[in-house]
Symmetry: C2
Subunit: 155 residues, 2 copies
């Protein structure tokens, strides 16, 4: 079991609550929190269980969910049966793209709603269209912003 300061434990809970609000179960959020807060580059199944005081079953399910969602990854070492879990840090730009796609999917539904409503309420149509078009514009700008940020950062 890892020794964690009260501040570390508190921060794990805060990160956990943030993830709960994003729709994850509490245990899942705490595991993400732990992986971000721990100084160790990776943690084993056992360390996670003992440190967070959670069951093997909840941990097994949570880790597999997080692996599948590409929020974490693991390394192995030959001659060692354990898996060494860590937060996946290289995929945040893909995450941004995914988030934008979800927003775009909703924009498409709003467009369908506009189409079905016809011209009964032109003011509403226009306002909904504004929203749709800004979201599409924002989405289209994200890759450029990413490039720009990468470039600016190099200096």
């Amino acid at each position: 079991m890892l020794k964690l300061s009260p501040e570390q434990r508190q921060l794990i809970e805060k990160i956990g609550i943030y993830h709960e609000q994003q729709g994850f179960p509490p245990v899942v959020g705490r595991i993400i929190g732990l992986l971000f807060v721990s100084e160790k580059p990776y943690l084993t199944f056992e360390e996670i269980i003992e440190t967070l005081n959670i069951s093997k079953s909840a941990t097994s399910n949570a880790l597999n969910l997080l692996l599948q969602m590409r929020h974490i990854e693991y390394t192995t070492f030959s001659g060692d049966r354990k898996r060494y879990f860590s937060a996946l840090l290289d995929n945040w730009n893909q995450e941004v793209v995914n988030k934008m796609n979800s927003i775009l999917a909703f924009s498409k539904l709003l467009r369908q709603a506009n189409d079905l409503r016809g011209d009964a309420n032109p003011d509403m149509n226009q306002k909904v269209l504004d929203r749709i078009e800004f979201m599409e514009f924002l989405s289209s700008q994200v890759p450029m912003l990413l490039e720009q940020w990468l470039k600016d950062r190099q200096k």
Copy 2:
């Protein structure tokens, strides 16, 4: 009870499911869907209940939640005790700002995690910092993008 085509009903469900995935209860999502899909500029409590076949209690709670979250609004007419509900269409740019603030709040937690971890894992620190800084950059750009979009649109 409003007459709705099968396509309209289907679209209400899709908008409902989107909102369920965003963390709303099913009834809440369907009400949002109905308000976007209906040709009427606003709907009464009774019309919502009858059209969606949901209880008064669920409807009362859902409408109050949506009012409080500023997803809907209502109008009144003097000499008429009913409230006339509609989707709130003017606040989507505030919504974008709120979403960005939530992302920034998480960035702040990540920064705290970086600080607590110290220099044990510099590669991780750098990657987390990249994520934080891109999110901050993206967030800072949103108001400009909104302005730019508004300007470009005027032509």
